[in-house]
């Protein structure tokens, strides 16, 4: 472990701990982290994203906390009506539910370390358990269906530099409830910093959660998010990941399908340019019969960019009639672009329908030629093909206004390819 990244136990004194038990848990977790260090490629889960090396290259020292600071003015989304939650550097600032029955929504700043994942393997979770002092707790009452989406504005202030921020979120949907979240990251810092999140999502019977993850701009942030989901029977989860933008981003999602007839969808369209590094890692655990999971990851990698998809589908012996699908497609725009994919099936039931696949390749020269014979420059032709490639995912967003908004955001990114 890079000695510079060791964190002194005295750091924990800076946190307003709940009680001695909390403090001990944090100290214990920190000790584990200091033994483990940031994960290296020797760890199977980090095979293609040696975060220890990446951090060593980009940071000399890390500062664990940040004094509170107000963000510069924020460009709130005006294109469609929404409720909002404002998080600044991972801390809940304010929220407004203009369109909703407020009695049905519980929201508070989250710093309850009873939520212990105890995933000793993953040192970033240990680090998070030790140091997280902020976050969001959101609970939707049984039978309540949101009128409008919530946009979670995740704002990072411009004075962040070499900071290591840890935060924890928890989202609980009651029975028969429905919610649509757009997580919109606005990064005002021009400097490098690390944001380490663990998130816990619980969908009770018949609940439905749709999420969209989107970046407002290109930035120098290093993001890691571990997300653990639990799905009860007949619940429905659908997520779109458009997380291009940060210098480093790894989304690590693990879902337990615990009740029958649930449906878990993960779709992603990534545009990875410059020397950016993005990974999506998923683990879908089919623990009971009759559930469906679907994953489609499309990535465009340009310049020195690097993309990774590691997806595992686990089907327990009793999980008959499982229907699981997983596909990763990557388009490489430059000789130096790289994409690694590791789809995995681990199946112990015999009556299941599972398929997986992955492809990666260059843009088809004949297609470029076809478009150029219609007057388009090579650059225009490639942009159109890239757009088309990602559109297969973006086109699935049902709300017209949200889809248009995202199309624009992605178009801007691609335009600068």
């Amino acid at each position: 472990m890079n000695e510079n990244f060791k964190i002194s136990p005295s750091e924990i004194n800076k946190i307003k701990v709940l009680n001695q038990k909390d403090k001990n848990f944090r100290l214990e977790s920190l000790k584990l982290f200091n033994q483990q260090g940031f994960p290296t490629r020797n760890h199977e889960d980090w095979k293609f994203s040696d975060i220890n090396q990446i951090f060593s290259k980009n940071f000399k020292n890390l500062e664990s906390f940040k004094n509170e600071i107000k963000p510069k003015s924020i460009n709130f989304i005006k294109e469609f009506d929404h409720n909002h939650i404002l998080m600044v550097n991972g801390k809940l600032e304010n929220s407004e539910f203009k369109f909703e029955d407020k009695n049905k929504i519980k929201i508070k700043s989250y710093n309850d370390s009873n939520f212990s994942l105890n995933n000793v393997e993953n040192s970033l979770i240990n680090l998070n358990n030790a140091l997280s002092n902020n976050g969001l707790f959101l609970e939707v009452a049984d039978n309540y269906k949101f009128e409008k989406a919530i946009i979670i504005y995740n704002v990072f202030t411009d004075d962040l530099k070499d900071n290591l921020l840890n935060n924890k979120n928890k989202i609980i949907l009651g029975k028969n409830s429905e919610l649509h979240i757009v997580e919109y990251n606005i990064n005002q810092s021009k400097n490098k910093f690390i944001y380490n999140t663990t998130e816990n999502v619980i969908l009770n019977e018949n609940a439905s959660l749709k999420t969209i993850n989107l970046q407002a701009n290109q930035n120098e942030g290093f993001f890691y998010k571990f997300s653990k989901g639990k799905m009860k029977s007949n619940s429905n989860f659908s997520s779109f990941i458009f997380s291009s933008g940060p210098k480093f981003n790894k989304i690590d999602a693990e879902f337990d399908l615990e009740g029958e007839n649930c449906d878990c969808n993960i779709k992603s369209a990534l545009f990875i340019n410059r020397d950016k590094h993005q990974e999506i890692k998923t683990k879908i655990n089919h623990l009971v019969p009759n559930c469906k999971s679907y994953q489609k990851i499309k990535s465009v990698v340009d310049a020195e960019g690097k993309g990774v998809y590691q997806g595992k589908i686990y089907v327990k012996d009793i999980a008959q009639k499982t229907n699981a699908y997983q596909l990763s497609k990557a388009l490489l725009l430059s000789e130096n672009s790289e994409f690694n994919s590791k789809p995995e099936l681990e199946i112990y039931a015999d009556d299941v329908k599972c398929s997986h696949g992955s492809t990666s390749g260059n843009v088809d020269e004949n297609s470029i030629h076809y478009l150029m014979t219609r007057g388009l420059s090579k650059k225009q032709a490639i942009q159109l093909l890239v757009n088309g490639f990602l559109n297969e995912i973006i086109g699935d967003i049902k709300s017209n206004s949200v889809r248009k908004f995202i199309e624009n955001k992605i178009e801007i990114q691609i335009h600068g390819y």
Binding site: D364, E365, N366, S367, H369, Y370, L371, M372, T373, R374, G375, L376, S377, K378, Q380, L384, L385, N387, G388, F389, L390, N391, E392, G395
Partner: protein, 244 residues
């Protein structure tokens, strides 16, 4: 309009066009026939400016050498190729593509760009003339189009982009009789003193609809015989073997 002198083209160290000569005047329709693999599509590709060929000889378009002109500039200058196998472009909306293409060409010509409403009217009119179901134009470009729909879509693009030199590579293959008639009408109504056509086909039938001024036989990378539409009839009866 187009003058080709001693054109040779090779790809992957294989010579495909082996010294081809051809002259097309404004307003003329030339047909090229020839056995499979004789180099017809290669000629069309080379004229479109496709990369990857090693080329010698001279190709002049409107008095200007095309040798160093890239693909998109040729298109902007009015050269249009209707592909033998139009490509499927997933995720790209046909109408959006057509509009981008038209406006890029207009811009290059120094003309004013067309707005969406005027464009949609234009497409609607042209699609109707060609008997194209407008619904397919809001779909992804050529994706899942039937063979005939793809060919019609090529002619639609020709009509909208309004080029001067039009190369039709086996546009008639795979068309039913009615579609053949519609497409031929589409071509005929575009004929003018300023436009020239190079029609590549295997079938004399198309040439009954689109009357060529000249018919050439391309064999093994060279034009081995030229004549009037009589030649096409003769070929239909005797085949290529009996030539010479």
């Amino acid at each position: 309009m187009l003058v080709i002198k001693n054109l040779k083209a090779s790809i992957n160290n294989r010579e495909i066009l082996k010294g081809l000569n051809l002259k097309i005047n404004p307003g003329e329709v030339h047909a090229i026939m020839g056995p499979n693999g004789s180099g017809k599509s290669t000629l069309a590709n080379v004229l479109s400016g496709k990369n990857g060929y090693k080329i010698s000889g001279e190709v002049k378009y409107l008095g200007e050498s095309l040798n160093d002109i890239p693909v998109e500039e040729r298109a902007q200058k009015g050269i249009f190729l209707a592909f033998q196998y139009p490509l499927e472009i997933p995720g790209v909306n046909t109408n959006n593509f057509l509009k981008t293409s038209l406006n890029t060409i207009k811009k290059a010509k120094g003309e004013k760009e067309i707005d969406t409403i005027a464009f949609l009217e234009l497409v609607k009119e042209k699609a109707k003339e060609l008997g194209i179901d407008e619904k397919i134009l809001s779909r992804q470009l050529n994706v899942g189009f039937s063979g005939g729909e793809k060919k019609k879509n090529e002619i639609l693009q020709m009509k909208i982009l309004d080029p001067n030199l039009i190369i039709l590579d086996e546009t008639d293959s795979g068309l039913d009789i009615d579609a053949l008639k519609i497409i031929s009408d589409g071509v005929n109504s575009s004929r003018s003193e300023k436009k020239s056509f190079l029609v590549i086909t295997h079938y004399q039938r198309l040439l009954e609809y689109i009357k060529p001024d000249h018919v050439h036989v391309l064999s093994d990378g060279k034009i081995i015989k030229s004549g009037t539409s009589e030649l096409a009839l003769e070929l239909e009866k005797k085949g290529y073997k009996k030539l010479n």
